[in-house]
């Protein structure tokens, strides 16, 4: 039985989409970092720690927040829910920020609260804390979103019974732009035939669904 995608979320070009429908947007003149904060406020979640995260973690955290409101946390087994993400630039924007603080001996101010975010899996850690997900974790870097790898890796985790559900996707950011495509995949007893299968083809379709 192939695991099923129960919800998906896109964030790009100052817009948030849930299951293919736009649920929030700002004008293109709004800075992308301000847009992420505005979109988070729009979810109605009060979570002051969000505003202390680096920009990259904010993006993934926002996508997870939108998605988990849709999935409904009471219906899942948080203990065996995994988090598997990938991207292209790892944490390059935050790396650059940290490098600026240590570049010269005259202006040498390394900060632990910046340094900790120079690991991309910190975002997964933030999401795990918020949603109590203690399942499998993995972070991969590739040149582009790779549905082939995501389906292989995650379906194998289901196969070996290490997870009952998984938050997965592509969370990418550089100086110029950001993009998140995050989805929730589950294996449930009462699966419905018409639901979305966690296959390469379906994942490709969903990834591109808001490109038009």
């Amino acid at each position: 039985m192939t695991p099923q995608i129960t919800a998906f979320c896109h964030i790009k070009k100052n817009q948030v989409f849930l299951n293919g429908k736009r649920i929030f947007s700002t004008g293109p003149e709004v800075d992308m970092r301000e847009f992420v904060k505005a979109a988070f406020r729009n979810t109605g979640t009060k979570y002051p720690k969000f505003f202390k995260m680096d920009d990259y973690s904010k993006l993934g955290f926002l996508a997870a927040e939108v998605l988990m409101k849709e999935v409904g946390e009471s219906t899942i087994e948080a203990k065996s829910t995994g988090i598997v993400f990938s991207n292209r630039h790892s944490t390059l924007t935050t790396d650059q920020l940290f490098q600026d603080s240590i570049q010269s001996d005259d202006a040498f101010f390394p900060s632990p609260s910046v340094f900790v975010y120079t690991l991309p899996n910190i975002m997964a850690g933030e999401i795990a804390i918020r949603h109590h997900f203690t399942g499998e974790n993995a972070f991969f870097v590739s040149s582009a979103f790779d549905p082939d790898w995501h389906t292989f890796y995650i379906n194998q985790l289901f196969e070996s019974k290490k997870i009952s559900a998984c938050l997965s996707g592509w969370v990418e950011m550089d100086d110029q732009s950001l993009e998140a495509f995050v989805y929730f995949v589950e294996k449930r007893k009462n699966q419905q035939n018409e639901s979305m299968q966690h296959t390469v083809e379906e994942l490709n379709n969903l990834y591109k669904i808001n490109d038009k």
Binding site: N121, F140, K162
Partner: protein
């Protein structure tokens, strides 16, 4: 179908091969030294660095293609080359894949280096460069998950071999001691002022190290007597704190249980644990709690961080490579830096080499972001 470890290499402060490193670990040697290099940090600090002149010498000997490479790339290429030389595996085959484990890769390329493409700062570009160097036709997968990257990469390799596509996976990992990493850990106040003392009562922080390591895994239907097999592996998150481990060791316990479930081995059948053992107060206490919760407190535990320092993305790979040699020799390696017990729960930490039949061993790792990994190895 079984997955076995067929070859390895370790390049570290303690040598350029697994054999050399194993002998140095066995004799309680430590590579941690005072580094006085203002380019790396404004004040002197402790770290275990690779011997630069020997690295360059070996590079010139090996690099027949005369490709301009960064220091990390040289380490990774030399490591794969040496591990491969002990096998008949065809690295250019489509049935062979390379998996790269690193936390910061070529982070020193944030400052341009002449004749090096600055894009190799990107981890997938670094992976691609390594793949091209060896003429491997498959995409090089990059695992970057803080300090569990190495163990996670081994688990991932075993998973890939369970699929249809590959016969061999070359897991390579590496990280450097850079200004970036030293300044970061300094700012966290997590570096010890003396060479680190894993699990010791007086431990006060970690020591950094740099290394590259390779493990070659092979799918086989006919494992032979004495083969070291991948038996099970898992990861889990504490869901508790992004820069400190859980006080209940929740994630580590789940990871160990899931790894044991996959291996079908009971906790009481484990002979020895090679811990993460960074020598920070919190990490070592956390591991002692995990080991106690699983009823494994009577087992000999060790850590190699006092010998190599914490080598980040390489750690899980080189420590597993040493553990494999340890199993072959039925000898538990000493924990350099450990003297007096002093963890929340009691542990039996090996100070000196210890002879014991080693059939089943457990490797642990934990890292920032609340991540934990466990790996079970089994001798046929």
């Amino acid at each position: 179908m079984a997955v076995r470890f067929v070859s390895s290499n370790i390049i570290s402060s303690l040598g350029f091969s697994t054999e050399e490193n194993f002998q140095n670990l066995l004799h309680g040697k430590a590579g941690i030294q005072t580094i006085n290099d203002p380019l790396l940090y404004p004040a002197p600090f402790l770290a275990a660095c690779i011997h630069q002149a020997e690295l360059e010498e070996r590079w010139i000997e090996t690099n027949q293609k005369e490709v301009a490479s960064t220091r990390l790339e040289k380490m990774l290429i030399l490591s794969i080359t040496e591990a491969l030389s002990k096998t008949k595996i065809d690295i250019s085959s489509s049935r062979t894949a390379i998996l790269l484990s690193t936390t910061k890769g070529n982070i020193d390329l944030l400052n341009l280096i002449e004749s090096i493409d600055p894009e190799r700062l990107l981890l997938w570009k670094l992976g691609e460069f390594i793949g091209h160097y060896f003429g491997n036709p498959n995409p090089v997968r990059v695992v970057t998950n803080a300090c569990i990257s190495g163990v996670l990469a081994i688990n991932t390799a075993a998973m890939m071999l369970k699929g249809e596509r590959f016969d061999h996976i070359i897991v390579v990992g590496g990280d450097l001691v850079t200004r970036f990493v030293v300044s970061g850990f300094m700012s966290f106040l997590s570096l010890s002022e003396t060479p680190c003392k894993p699990f010791d009562r007086d431990r006060d922080g970690l020591s950094l190290g740099e290394a590259a390591g390779t493990l070659i895994l092979e799918k086989t239907s006919f494992p032979e007597q004495g083969d070291i097999l991948f038996s099970g592996g898992a990861t889990a998150n504490d869901a508790n704190h992004i820069s400190g481990p859980s006080r209940t060791a929740e994630g580590s316990v789940i990871a160990i249980q899931n790894a044991l479930n996959e291996s079908g081995i009971a906790a009481q059948d484990i002979d020895h644990i090679n811990a993460h053992g960074t020598a920070t107060r919190y990490n070592d206490d956390m591991e002692s709690i995990a080991i106690q919760r699983l009823g494994l407190s009577e087992l000999p535990v060790n850590s190699f961080k006092g010998s190599w320092g914490h080598t980040l993305g390489a750690a899980g790979i080189i420590e597993t490579a040493a553990l494999i040699e340890s199993m072959k020799a039925d000898t538990i390696l000493p924990t350099v830096g450990f003297n007096m017990p002093g963890t929340t729960e009691n542990l039996i930490v090996t100070k000196k080499p210890l002879s014991k039949p080693l059939h089943t061993c457990l490797k642990l790792a934990s890292g920032f972001g609340g991540c934990n990994a466990a790996l079970v190895l089994n001798k046929k």
